[in-house]
Amino acid sequence: MMEWLTQEILAKYNYWIAVIIILIGFYAMIAKDNLIKKLIGLSLFQTGIFLYFISLGDVGVGWGLRSGTTYIIEAIPEGYIYINPLPTALILTAIVVSVSTLAVSLGLVIRIYEEYETIEESEIIEKERVL
């Protein structure tokens, strides 16, 4: 039992945290009524994915999952620790994408607020029915 705990949970704690963050974000996107809270959920979802990707960059230790290899350096010299730069570079791009998504969506929320004077989804649906 103890061994299982250390091998499956503790040794891969970063992956577990990524999964938990993703699920919290997903829950918020589905269940929350407030549009801003939905967007916070979206942001959490994306952050969880970034964490997962960055965890993949870990080449030296190789806990459980087989990560990528260092593309540039074939043999790691003694006394140095390298991480695979590719996932980090990918996430830099993905962060840009997520920032622009958030920017567009926040802009939309502002316009929705101007139009409906509320950012609660249930109230918006209520007002839509009246229109």
Partner: protein
């Protein structure tokens, strides 16, 4: 003279440059923005036709961005499948931009410059998804076109804002699942290049990570392409966007997402993987439900654009049914991906035309509901004529494109031996007839303004939309018939259209030997 292998990249660069040029030129004069957009897309269309020609007769284009060798650098690969989708998408994009000159002036007079700039970004994203040979790059381009689409849908304000927000939340979930799938694949293979992945993956087909990645791709892209039951964003987004954006959304954007799924499943995972899991059978069943659901919901709608939107859900069902059957059909004419690829073009033509006509009614008199369209057939003869042609194509009256799609799909279903799917297609044809005939009847057989009976004989003054809006509608409407005749005459003679044939050959599905 630059070599033809540079053209795919130039396609994106040009479009992206045009997006920024429109902003700058728009400061000087608003009129420039339309001209720049139109010329750029025209040039792109010509380039894409060159690419298609080259790919078809010489071989695929393989371009390494800034000269980095593929698994390291980003690769651009264009084969017949991309080239075909590229031509279709740029063709409809050109007609849409032609249409939007007057329509956008009328609907969004103060947003003209930004409209065209964002429109160019949309085209950039769509072209990018089509030509790229790298899955992460594909994700970035998917997000580019989605963001542009969110902005364009919201541009009318009001209810459209809510529709756009729903699309944004759902589309972002789809994109997140997609990028998570990429992460799964990367963690087992350490590569992002499609060709490289296809070479590394075969020994790993049994791996849970790889299978989970495939499931994530399917679900993520199903949201983007509005496959039932993940279509809930589509009806609102389609009905409240400006007409040409509805046409692009329905005719191109969801099709490009389908293309992404086809590309990933056949180029990255290959046929051998798809045969291991019954996922394509499952997709075919879901598609069959989508066909019926979309048609039934379309009947219930009073709003014309909303009706067309639900009809899109059902048409996506047709495409996915054809994709789902592609593994089990071997016949020369309708085997493999042929019906799916045909229907991508056919749907773009029909839905493009129908949405533009719906937009024309809104432009002319702000008419949204079907019952308001009484007697317009005599008032706007050309527009309504094009609508009728596209509508009978949707129903599937012989020489039209809809007929060709349906007959090939029925043959494919018969070959696959599933007669329930045939019943689904026939039932859906019947339902199509119900909801499209209702519109045609209102257009032609009911008198406007409910006047007394003798008014029927009175000559009605025609009141057509501007020529620049009418031309794209007429081109699309007549192509619905012309293209159908071309499909019907060409295919039995040559064996199969060379494009479809070479796609099937590429992916090793169907039977692709050309009859001498």
């Amino acid at each position: 003279m630059i070599g033809i292998e540079h053209l795919p990249v130039l396609l994106i660069v040009l479009s992206l440059l045009a997006a920024f040029t429109i902003f700058v030129a728009g400061w000087f004069d608003k009129k420039f923005s339309w001209a720049i957009s139109f010329i750029t897309i025209l040039v792109q269309l010509v380039m894409s036709i060159f690419i298609l020609n080259h790919v078809l007769f010489t071989g695929k284009i393989d371009y390494w961005l800034s000269g980095w060798r593929p698994p390291w650098g980003i690769q651009v690969v264009v084969d017949t499948l991309n080239a075909y989708v590229l031509v279709v998408l740029l063709f409809l994009a050109l007609l849409s931009v032609m249409y939007s000159k007057r329509n956008i002036q009328h609907e969004l007079p103060e947003k003209v410059i930004t409209y065209y700039a964002v429109y160019q970004l949309l085209v950039t994203g769509l072209c990018g998804v089509t030509i790229t040979g790298d899955i992460f790059n594909m994700y970035v381009f998917v997000e580019i076109f989605s963001l542009a689409a969110y902005a364009l849908i919201a541009s009318r304000g009001g209810i459209a804002l809510k529709a756009s927000f729903v699309y944004l939340v759902m589309g972002s979930i789809g994109a997140c699942l997609f990028v998570l799938g990429i992460g799964f694949l990367y963690s087992v293979t350490g590569s992002l290049n499609m060709a490289d992945l296809a070479a590394i993956l075969p020994p790993l087909y049994g791996n849970k990570m790889v299978q989970a990645a495939f499931a994530l791709f399917v679900v993520g892209l199903s949201i983007k392409m509005a496959l039932f039951p993940l279509h809930t964003w589509l009806p609102d987004a389609h009905s409240f966007a400006p007409a040409e954006i509805s046409a692009m959304l329905s005719g191109i954007i969801i099709e490009v997402s389908t293309y992404a799924l086809i590309r990933l499943s056949f180029s990255v995972f290959t046929v051998n993987f798809l045969k291991l899991l019954p996922i394509y059978d499952l997709l075919a069943w879901i598609a069959a439900i989508a066909i019926i659901y979309g048609s039934v919901m379309a009947i219930a709608q009073l709003n014309l654009k909303r009706m067309l939107a639900y009809s899109s859900v059902s048409q996506m069902g047709y495409i996915m049914l054809a994709v789902g059957l592609s593994l089990s059909t071997k016949h020369l004419l309708w085997g493999g991906l042929t019906p799916a690829l045909m229907h991508i073009l056919n749907h773009a033509l029909m839905k493009g035309c129908l949405f533009m006509v719906a937009g024309a009614f809104i432009y002319k008199a702000d008419l949204w509901n079907i019952t308001d369209l009484r007697g317009l057939g005599r008032k706007m003869p050309w527009t309504c004529g094009a609508f009728t042609m596209a509508a009978i194509s949707m129903i599937g009256v012989p020489p039209s494109v809809g007929f060709v799609s349906k007959i090939y799909l029925i043959f494919a279903v018969v070959e696959a031996g599933n007669f329930l799917f045939m019943a689904v297609i026939l039932l859906s044809t019947l339902l199509n007839l119900v909801y499209f005939w209702r519109v045609i009847e209102t257009l032609y057989m009911k008198v406007g303004e409910a006047g007394p009976h003798h008014e029927y004989e009175k000559p009605v003054k025609t009141d057509e939309i501007p020529l620049l809006m009418l031309i794209p509608i007429l081109i699309l409407g007549s192509l619905c018939i012309v293209m159908g005749i071309i499909w019907l005459t060409e295919i039995p003679i040559i064996g199969a259209v060379p494009i479809m044939d070479s796609v099937n050959k590429l992916f090793e599905i169907g039977r692709y030997t050309v009859v001498p």
